[in-house]
């Protein structure tokens, strides 16, 4: 082997984590807010508004129907404008975040919709403000399901981040493709795949156990 595998793995692992974590955070905050907006505008107890709901819904659908590879290219000018570069992990975070926001937007909407409407109706009937109902009833009730969906989003992001190599994004997936596939070094590819599998497992285990911890509906 003519390169330091350990150093390369560490570097690319850092890049993968950087891409996944920052786009995941964007997905949770922005995508979660969009999911909440979609839910609130679809529910008569809150702010039912067909027009806003449909406009946001269509935007999400369009974003989700663009293949990620194409989104990656489409977003180059946006990345340039925001992070002043079109290559490297920083640049790739933008298309990753956009894809993840749309993805988690829909998933979180489903999490909110799954909350028993009767529970929300009871809260409305108690005279509580809508804001406090959202924060103190809706969120805790939806939390276990939200966490499961955050896990699904994180795992998809690990997969998406592997494509980041195409615009010089780096990351473990990129390492696997360049060294393992293109230079035909199967050990590198094997190790990279193992690292990715472990990473996915860790995310899944953390997600599942914290969701279970927070779900009191079956204890």
């Amino acid at each position: 082997m003519d390169f330091d595998l350990k150093a390369a793995l560490l570097l690319t692992f850092g890049q993968t984590m950087q891409m996944v974590i920052s786009s995941l955070l964007a997905a949770i905050i922005i995508g979660g807010s969009i999911g909440l907006l979609l839910f609130l505008t679809s529910n008569t107890l809150f702010l039912k508004n067909r027009i806003i709901n449909q406009i946001v819904g269509v935007v999400i659908n369009i974003t989700r129907s663009i293949p990620f590879l194409i989104l990656l290219v489409l977003m180059i000018p946006v990345s340039k404008a925001i992070v002043h570069t079109s290559i490297g992990p920083n640049a790739v975070v933008i298309p990753l975040a956009v894809a993840a926001i749309a993805f988690f937007g829909r998933l979180s909407e489903a999490s909110f919709s799954d909350v028993d409407n009767g529970v929300l109706e009871a809260a409305i009937a108690s005279g509580a403000s809508k804001l406090s109902i959202v924060l103190k009833i809706l969120l805790p009730e939806a939390l276990p399901s939200l966490i499961k969906n955050i896990t699904v989003t994180a795992v998809s992001l690990i997969g998406f981040s592997a494509m980041a190599g195409t615009v010089g994004g780096g990351g473990i997936g990129d390492l696997a493709i360049r060294y393992g596939y293109q230079r035909y070094e199967p050990e590198v590819m094997f190790i990279c795949v193992i690292v990715l599998v472990l990473l996915v497992q860790i995310f899944q285990i953390i997600g599942d156990s914290s969701a279970k911890q927070l779900d009191k509906s079956n204890k």
């Binding site: 108690s126 005279g127 406090s132 805790p140 939390l143 009191k216 079956n218």
Partner: protein, 337 residues
């Protein structure tokens, strides 16, 4: 206390207008336990929800405590709702919050401090006999316990009115009577006005003082529970009563019996006199009770007896006349004369 004035609620369904409530006009008095009966889809639930404006009305006005609340919005509406508690068939407790947190939520939402909230929650849990369940999650409670927590939550902000949407329909018989007992106590102790909607007529018989009967969105009958149950004015009410009172002789038995079989209804005062005994003595006939039930609604007796009469045709006729005169109702089921 609560007044419905020309209340109508209609929904658009598949481009058709569907009237869920049609011109409801009645008053619920302060401190009474008022029942609204009707089969499912009769509009009971919709009507109940107009009181705390969970359901907006298409036309008409709602008065609570003399105030027209129909167009209340925002803060005014939230204050109104704090004074009107509500409980539900499926309890509707937040599953990921403890009993304490479920009740504390409505107190904090009304601006109570932490110490006020703590004191009030333990007071309420004492009231509903669940002091040891403060830190339990709803999943660990039985149905009756969940409904008790829901009642505590509904009354947290000193509600003057309690709306009950099929409060016992998900509970077994024993739990039902304990929940109804609790509601009765709360009504007595605090003078809370209670409005109950239910398809279970036994619930109404058990605790209501007055009731309304709804059919297809309209209130078809309203009055004292005893009056409605003993003298239903409307055909629909009669049907509803007969559905729940599976109370008739099996056909096979009827066919086998000889001699006249009569169905006697006793009500109020005449239920306390030994009429059958008098009739048997006076006319020298025999009688055989085939089926019977006497129940008490609001402390007044309502009895139904199926009786086979034995004797000579002529005296039987006289006896039947006598019985008809001295009971609330007499129906000859099987002539045999």
């Amino acid at each position: 206390m609560i007044e419905f004035k020309n209340i109508s609620v209609s929904f658009k369904q598949d481009k058709q207008i569907f009237a869920a409530v049609n011109d409801a006009n009645f008053k619920i008095k302060k401190g009474e336990i008022f029942g609204i009966a009707g089969s499912s889809g009769a509009g009971k639930s919709t009507l109940l929800r107009t009181i705390n404006l969970l359901q907006t009305v298409s036309s008409g006005q709602i008065f609570v405590d003399g105030e027209n609340v129909t167009n209340y919005k925002k803060t005014q509406l939230r204050i109104l709702r704090r004074n009107i508690g509500m409980i539900f068939q499926h309890f509707n407790l937040a599953r990921n919050l403890t009993v304490y947190q479920n009740i504390a939520f409505v107190l904090k939402a009304a601006g109570k401090s932490k110490s006020e909230t703590d004191a009030r929650v333990s007071e309420l849990l004492g009231l509903v006999n669940l002091s040891d369940k403060s830190n339990s999650y709803p999943a660990n409670l039985s149905g009756g316990e969940k409904q008790r927590v829901a009642i505590a939550r509904a009354l947290a902000n000193d509600a003057k009115i309690l709306l009950c949407d099929e409060p016992t329909s998900a509970l077994d018989l024993e739990t039902t009577s304990s929940i109804l007992g609790l509601l009765k106590d709360l009504n007595k102790k605090f003078g809370i006005t209670i409005v109950i909607i239910t398809h279970e007529l036994d619930v109404i018989k058990n605790i209501c003082t007055r009731c309304a009967v709804m059919n297809k969105g309209s209130v078809v009958e309203i009055g004292d529970v005893y009056g409605v149950f003993t003298k239903p004015k409307e055909e629909f009410t009669r049907q509803l009563l007969s559905h729940t009172n599976h109370f008739s002789l099996p056909e096979e038995i009827l066919d086998k019996m000889e001699g006249p079989i009569i169905r006697l209804t006793f009500k109020g005062d005449n239920a306390n006199n030994p009429i059958l005994y008098y009739a048997a003595n006076t006319f020298q006939i025999g009688f055989n009770i085939l089926l019977g039930k006497i129940e008490y609604i609001n402390g007044l007796p309502l009895g139904i007896l199926y009786v086979q009469l034995i004797g000579e045709v002529d005296t039987l006729k006289l006896a039947i006349d006598y019985l008809a005169e001295n009971t609330a109702d007499l129906e000859v089921i099987n002539h045999g004369l």
